[in-house]
């Protein structure tokens, strides 16, 4: 094949990519194994995954998924469909994505939504790139990122933007509140990225942050949990003018927790900057006979037409997962989603009050939380979690993995899936483990 296109080697194909941008040999990636060996490895590892009571959130949340969701998603009409190149021939798929976009704009109170991107972390990276393109007030390529955002998101964003001359500057979070503060003289920056709730489940003052951001001539990017938006103030209503771009992880909307996904990223923005939004956008229109129809819009910005000058190289969407999220939201409705959010919040509050009564563990940060909180133990979390797991409980995420100063802290999540009995069991197990450790 190389000979017929006149290229001498595989390496020669990549000649036009500058040396500095190449990854080089992937030393962490093992060489291939046979199908038989792979199946055996996967089966062995799958057996290690016992069914446990999970209190781990940290970006992926276990919610009840009505049986109808994946029953419908698994139908051949949805399952085998891909955003087709003659898109308009697939009116069903387009209508579904259009409904998804409508739901997301209502949930976030934003003006436009796209058809989704890969996941929450890449949605945040795309939002950063988009904000830099869209900011007409300054030419800065510096972006302020709240330090209380999911650290894996910040890492993914760094990987995506670091070769594009974009500087991500992390704002430290306060030791007591876990929230980021405002700087009097922040210097010029293109955008501010804030998470709501933040990684520790806490609630930054998004109104003040949004107004401060706009006063400094920057665009406001909100990274939000979609379930929380049923209870909390949606990004479209933050501050005087609302957030400019809102993104997040759609997994809580009907997608099971799985190691590594696939998940789905959602992305909304203000109408004024819609031409800078990456990805597919489905519009509603009418045909020559006046019948309703759906069409791909703003395609001219994409890479199959614009090549290297495309708005973004994301031209696809998580079609199947969008289908799941859309069915999930339509089954729950606004009342149902609010109930899920409320029960999750109340569950966490009950767990926190049980903890208070032990006197051994306490909430690490001040201020209210949504459905997740950092709790502080008398000893490092890594010494406690394996012992809880032996009792069938995944007790939370070890915050020491990302923040060395928080090695005694666990990030604990409660959703509507946890009963009072589960909460009691959690507390009993935690107390027993701590006692065994001499605390």
């Amino acid at each position: 094949m190389l000979a017929s296109i006149g290229v001498t080697s595989i390496e020669a194909l990549f000649d036009e990519i500058p040396e500095a941008l190449r990854s080089g040999e992937l030393t962490q990636t093992p060489s291939g194994i046979s199908e038989m060996a792979l199946l055996r490895t996967m089966n062995e590892r799958a057996r290690l995954d016992e069914v446990q009571l999970s209190f781990i959130g940290a970006g992926a949340y276990e919610h009840h998924i009505p049986a109808a969701v994946w029953d419908l998603v698994g139908r051949g009409e949805f399952m085998t469909a891909y955003t087709p190149y003659q898109a308009e021939a697939s009116q069903g798929t387009l209508q579904l994505i259009y409904e998804f976009q409508t739901m997301m704009t209502r949930l976030l109170q934003m003006e436009v939504a796209n058809a989704s991107v890969y996941d929450g972390a890449t949605a945040m990276a795309e939002a950063i790139l988009m904000a830099i393109r869209a900011n007409k007030k300054n030419k800065s390529r510096r972006v302020l990122v709240a330090g209380d955002i999911n650290p894996t998101y910040i890492e993914a964003c760094q990987a995506i933007v670091r070769n594009q001359g974009i500087e991500l500057e992390q704002l430290d979070f306060d030791e007591d509140s876990g929230l980021v503060g405002l700087d009097d003289e922040p210097g010029e920056f293109a955008a501010l990225v804030v998470s709501y709730p933040n990684y520790f489940g806490g609630l930054p003052d998004v109104d003040a942050l949004t107004d401060w951001c706009h006063e400094n001539g920057a665009l406001m990017v909100g990274v939000v949990n979609p379930t929380a938006m049923a209870l909390l103030k949606p990004p479209g209503e933050w501050g005087k003018e609302g957030a400019d771009i809102a993104v997040g992880e759609g997994q809580p909307l009907g997608i099971p927790v799985a190691s590594g996904g696939p998940y789905l990223g959602f992305m909304c923005c203000k109408q004024a900057i819609v031409r800078q939004m990456p990805g597919r956008i489905i519009g509603r229109t009418s045909d020559v006979d006046g019948n309703d129809g759906f069409a791909l819009t703003l395609q001219a910005r994409e890479q199959h037409i614009r090549r290297a000058k495309a708005t973004s190289n994301i031209c696809t969407n998580q079609g199947l997962l969008v289908t799941a999220a859309t069915i999930y939201l339509s089954l729950l409705g606004d009342v149902g989603l609010r109930s899920v959010a409320m029960q999750s919040h109340q569950g966490l509050q009950r767990l926190l009050s049980h903890m208070d009564s032990t006197g051994k563990v306490k909430k690490r940060f001040t201020g209210p939380c949504f459905h997740e909180a950092a709790i502080e133990l008398p000893i490092p979390a890594r010494e406690v979690l394996p012992l809880m797991a032996e009792q069938g409980i995944l007790g939370g995420y070890d915050l020491g993995l990302s923040f060395p100063a928080l090695e005694n802290c666990l990030l604990v999540n409660v959703t509507e899936t946890k009963t009072e009995h589960d909460l009691t069991l959690y507390m009993t197990t935690l107390s027993t483990v701590l006692e065994a450790k001499g605390c």
């Binding site: 007409k136 614009r306 000058k309």
Partner: protein, 130 residues
């Protein structure tokens, strides 16, 4: 048949330029708008932006393509056609009149004279079609 007004100068990339004192008005040719089809959006430069001849400073988007618009001369953008924001169809309806894009205060207005004349540009368009 596309029009090629003789009082204008042209770029290979299908912009036209008209000198008016030290200001140069820029738009896209009748031939270009015809090739693009219905123009749905024009992304204009900021007033005050500085440009070098050959810089990409605007984007015209039709239902089938999005194309860069190049600055024909070096200078500063002094005015943009804000009417295009609400009525991009003016580019199709009157490419040489109401459909103009922006005006550049040229550092060397004589630069315009070095661009293609109508005859040369028309020959180029005809060659492209064959």
């Amino acid at each position: 048949m596309a029009e090629f007004p003789t009082e204008l100068r042209y770029l290979k990339s299908h912009e036209w330029a008209k000198r008016d004192g030290d200001v140069v008005v820029v738009g896209i040719s009748d031939h270009a708008q015809d090739e693009l089809g219905d123009v749905v959006y024009v992304e204009l430069p900021e007033v005050g932006a500085e440009c070098q001849a050959g810089d990409e400073i605007a984007v015209v988007e039709s239902v089938k393509a999005a194309s860069d618009i190049y600055a024909p001369v070096t200078g500063t953008v002094v005015e943009v056609n804000v009417k295009l924001e609400e009525s991009p169809e003016l580019v199709n309806e009157a490419p040489y009149a109401d459909g103009w894009f922006f005006k550049i205060k040229a550092s060397d207005p004589a630069e315009v004279e070095s661009l293609l004349n109508a005859e040369q540009y028309q020959a180029l368009c005809e060659a492209e079609e064959h």
